[in-house]
Subunit: 401 residues, 4 copies
Amino acid sequence: MPGFDHNERTAALLARLRSFMQEHIYPNEALYHRQVDEGGRWTRVPLVEELKTKAKAAGLWNLFLPHSDRGAGLSNLEYAPLCEEMGRVHFSSTVFNCAAPDTGNMETLERFGTEEHKRRWLQPLLDGKIRSAFAMTEPAVASCDATNIESSIVRDGDDYVINGRKWWISGVGEPDCALLIFMGKTDPAADRHKQQSMILIPRDTPGITVVRPMTVFGYDDAPHGHMEIVFDNVRVPATNLLLGEGRGFEIAQARLGPGRIHHCMRVIGMAERALEDMCSRVKTRVAFGKPLAEQGVIIERIANSRIMIDQARLLTLQAAHRMDQVGNKEARAEIAMIKVAAPNMACQVIDWAMQAHGAAGIGQDFVLAKHYANARKIRFADGPDEVHRHQLGRMELARHG
Amino acid sequence: MPGFDHNERTAALLARLRSFMQEHIYPNEALYHRQVDEGGRWTRVPLVEELKTKAKAAGLWNLFLPHSDRGAGLSNLEYAPLCEEMGRVHFSSTVFNCAAPDTGNMETLERFGTEEHKRRWLQPLLDGKIRSAFAMTEPAVASCDATNIESSIVRDGDDYVINGRKWWISGVGEPDCALLIFMGKTDPAADRHKQQSMILIPRDTPGITVVRPMTVFGYDDAPHGHMEIVFDNVRVPATNLLLGEGRGFEIAQARLGPGRIHHCMRVIGMAERALEDMCSRVKTRVAFGKPLAEQGVIIERIANSRIMIDQARLLTLQAAHRMDQVGNKEARAEIAMIKVAAPNMACQVIDWAMQAHGAAGIGQDFVLAKHYANARKIRFADGPDEVHRHQLGRMELARHG
Amino acid sequence: MPGFDHNERTAALLARLRSFMQEHIYPNEALYHRQVDEGGRWTRVPLVEELKTKAKAAGLWNLFLPHSDRGAGLSNLEYAPLCEEMGRVHFSSTVFNCAAPDTGNMETLERFGTEEHKRRWLQPLLDGKIRSAFAMTEPAVASCDATNIESSIVRDGDDYVINGRKWWISGVGEPDCALLIFMGKTDPAADRHKQQSMILIPRDTPGITVVRPMTVFGYDDAPHGHMEIVFDNVRVPATNLLLGEGRGFEIAQARLGPGRIHHCMRVIGMAERALEDMCSRVKTRVAFGKPLAEQGVIIERIANSRIMIDQARLLTLQAAHRMDQVGNKEARAEIAMIKVAAPNMACQVIDWAMQAHGAAGIGQDFVLAKHYANARKIRFADGPDEVHRHQLGRMELARHG
Amino acid sequence: MPGFDHNERTAALLARLRSFMQEHIYPNEALYHRQVDEGGRWTRVPLVEELKTKAKAAGLWNLFLPHSDRGAGLSNLEYAPLCEEMGRVHFSSTVFNCAAPDTGNMETLERFGTEEHKRRWLQPLLDGKIRSAFAMTEPAVASCDATNIESSIVRDGDDYVINGRKWWISGVGEPDCALLIFMGKTDPAADRHKQQSMILIPRDTPGITVVRPMTVFGYDDAPHGHMEIVFDNVRVPATNLLLGEGRGFEIAQARLGPGRIHHCMRVIGMAERALEDMCSRVKTRVAFGKPLAEQGVIIERIANSRIMIDQARLLTLQAAHRMDQVGNKEARAEIAMIKVAAPNMACQVIDWAMQAHGAAGIGQDFVLAKHYANARKIRFADGPDEVHRHQLGRMELARHG
């Protein structure tokens, strides 16, 4: 059947996911934040632990991993609508063990890890017993150009010794974070794309100092967190290196495609929820003699939101479809497109929804401001809009004789 | 197969259509305009007549009519990419007998005409022997609200007598225009949506005066033309009325869906061509020491154009798919969405392409300015953006409890 | 002299203000935040107290109050550039005793207070000994329409008794906040604009409960704060009523003009600083082989920022000039214009600056994200964009016969 | 007096100009177009000749020339509002002898011409007896970069011989066009900005062939016209060279400032008129049960138009003021700003006005579509937006440490 209507398998999972969210997630959003506060922000959230057990029992677990028998076996296109649904509540991805950066890390370990890596790290991650982080961005350089990375990974006997300063390392705040996948340079003299390597660093290795949590607008996103970290002579066995020296860039490229689809589908979920919130709000508020819902400017924004969301969703599904058909590398134009289109769309739709809520829209009683901050962050994550547009524009130019 | 990849039938037709255009249409664009000038603008264009014969012979004829054995039997989704292709050259739709308003008129006659109507008007239209027009818009009222229509259709014995002033009646300039489908009021006292009727008026009926061609920006679009016409006691047999008195609004609604898909796919074709023109142009122009193609702002616009075109195309294909699945009426939200999204997108992409061409971009050596004018016109045709957004916004509001 | 070049008086004050900020404010931005944290957020900030003394000594005090011998005697036009300068650092307005809502409250007391009100509240406010708040917005209704206000002010003998729930009451977090000017209804049965009154409520009156601070994109803006407050049978002497029953709307209107100029000039200061930050940043960051400062898209945004800032500043100065010439009421179209134009401009310019900073742009090491949140908030404060556009559009329509 | 309120002199001239336009220009707009048609498009328009006499008699003549006793002696700032007024009707500038490119040519002759040049060409231009053109843009190169110009001016004894192809040469259609100021290269081997020279070419010199009029969105702008011209061994006396060999670029720079102010003020006039048209139209049109003037989206656009026009006008007046104060060269950032801001603003405002008119908006019964085409053209004229933004962005970057 043509189009992007859900197939039976996706439709069934989506129905199950939605009813789980209705029953267990939405009613507990306030409780989640209360538990984070009560726990002092950087501790395990009891609610999440309970819900993870329930989600696993409901068969809503590890839905993200395509082309592997370790996950649910869904294609990118099949997973996409489920990912959108999870995006509506920021902590729900964790409940279903589908949260970044664990997903990208699991995919990296699945594709490029040794059997020992899989045994020690992938399996506990798949089981939801540990969490992980991905240490790439550095404060001193424009990290959108991965060749700028300055941290060092130096061979010393049977070990590698790691030095550097990273920041915006998401997930290090999680009390269960046990593993960092670290990107640095093994050979600064090599070819531009062969200098970098990736290495596995257990969280409890000596020499790792968390300097501070970065804030996103004013949010610390506890207990997940986006940390600034100093690595001072951190020593790990040489077997922790992924694939081999100089292959870091290659691994980075491989992990980006699915991660971008996920980011995009989640922000589409945020936008869809914002539109629903906007519609509900404007029906109940009266100003200057009539409900906001009858005011032309509001109706126009609702219409434009619907158009923009549907366009971004179709483009993202098309990118997922292409990834399934021709692989991540061949689909890179499509992936670049959605990485620009989806978060920008979401920022606009959420902004309109905030405006329709009055001051409440930027406060803590609605998810809007938090979601705006998240969607705005996605405009940098995995490369800023400008880099994607530049690459996309050059691909397009190359197509025309 | 999921997605909107072409099925075999469409792929084959598209390949044939493209090679026809490469061979017969693009090389003759300048000749077309020369013949229009040489013929005094409002006469038959010999080139078009020749190409019609060739197109019919190539099996590229009447591709538009879905769900009927009179056309090529394509679904809306199958026809859409062909329609996009034709949109790249404004006179090519005529070559393939797929031009508005004939298409809408043929569909109207097919769905609502009597056997006699079909014999006398539909068959010659399908054969490309005559052309037709659709007389709805009036200068005196806001015609986006069809209930505003003021022209009268009054029963007088076995005839109806028609009076009124219409404008922007496209196609009346064609020397072969033989039929007007006319919308007017048979009963101004009836319910708001039951006052209107549609009636067939032979072009040569006494009382029809073409006042002047309207211009679109500075284009008269000869020989097609957009005419202002006075109907002064125009008398036709009562059997010319379609369906019955008071059913004009219903017929108008029915014809709009496919027409909007066609408009949208054609403007997408214009946008795609503009993007190609922009890419070609910027590679050959140097300013301030480097080709425009290496300047960041240009690359950004090319990237944004690609994103915007692909989003609009996917949305339009989705609307076509929905029309095929659930019918024009159920798909009205999707149709409203594309009617807003596609021409606005095209105006922006073409505008960027014009800007990249310098002054040449708004002149007669490229199709850009003409296509801009056409795409801009589509933002009014079949209802302005604002009406579609308003209806769409209200549908969306109604979906949320 | 034509134009908005500074006159001598303004030029001299501006020079003094700038050197004060260079010497005392910019170098202490980090210290300010550290002291807020160390003080537990809702306590007096020692730095601010020291700087207030210095500012008073430097003659940089109460610059805001036009047409009064109690302030510096500057016109709105003369004060505007000073206000812009203060906007560059959010706590600096407080240092110069020019912070909202104190400024609006002082102006209200100056224009509408009794001698006793002035003695008890205005003088200590002018001296910077106490702070104040303005309690208008309510959670239950769309407060952009002031007639929606539901809180009650009921006469009871020689007192008024106040009940209601307010939120986003800025400044109540300040430990020195001693006064609330409260808007409520004295007569719900009166004419639509005669139902409201304003009354002075000492902060320590029994029955006032601060429920919680509201957050602005995650920021609590401590120690200023934006509080939700319950007023439960709060009793004050009848003499605390301003002007008389039913005159609340009139007072609200009068206070809005200058407050809007101030808001706008401050956000222009934020935008100007963001542009400076953007320019500095892009010179020091290299990506894909050249500094960001040489990349076309960045240069274009810098140019557009300059154009947008200068336009918004000129429009705001024009509004200030009109207020000085013809009064706040006659200048209401100009005031509505800037209220829309300035914060929207600032949001866009700051957003570009954030994007040029990469992830750092939304974190705590730059003022950008905080300023974005503030500018975004101004799009609601004193009425959302939509209300101002609506009123402005109607005024414009009324001008054309 | 601060601000940009008109001084007495400007106010008096503006009042006189407005009443002239009310009496003689607006009532004759249709007649103008009829006479152009009746005259076969490329002939003298009797109406214009009559009105020129009247305008001269009314003291509304040569208002544009600043800092010279040959014109009205107005500063740029004083002339600006008059220029805006003329912009409302495209042929009115000619009536007041204030039309481009004559104005720029007169200013060039005044500043850089010899006494003989002034006697032979400047005086008849000032008297309105002849018209002129400025031949710079070439089809073969990106002329926004003046160093790309390829036409040659070669010394041959006491003459120069000119060869080249120019297009978009405005005003050559005028039957009274007697002079072309031509830009070409005298020394392609010289420094990049010293290769060009300017030379005076009498229109009737042998070797000049007008190839065709270029169209602007379908408009030929007859009888003014934008011509493509071949110069084939056109020979003029060496004394026709302006200033000296290699000084063409310098002259080009000098003439641009005032021309850009004029362009900008005229498009502001177009925008202001479009806004008036929009307001009038929406009051008289009813759709879906209420006048367009009561529909929120329309009101919002009217408000945004007012904001955008006022901002662009203030910015342009500020640029004029700076030119008067510090000279064209020092004011180049301000001039670049308005060159971007004003025509883009006008395109948007006119587009909204067109949309509010329905199909009528793009036809010949309103000036909107023609004005849109003109304003759109200004986005290229004297350099496209992109070049101005690039220069402005670099100036801004240079300001910051």
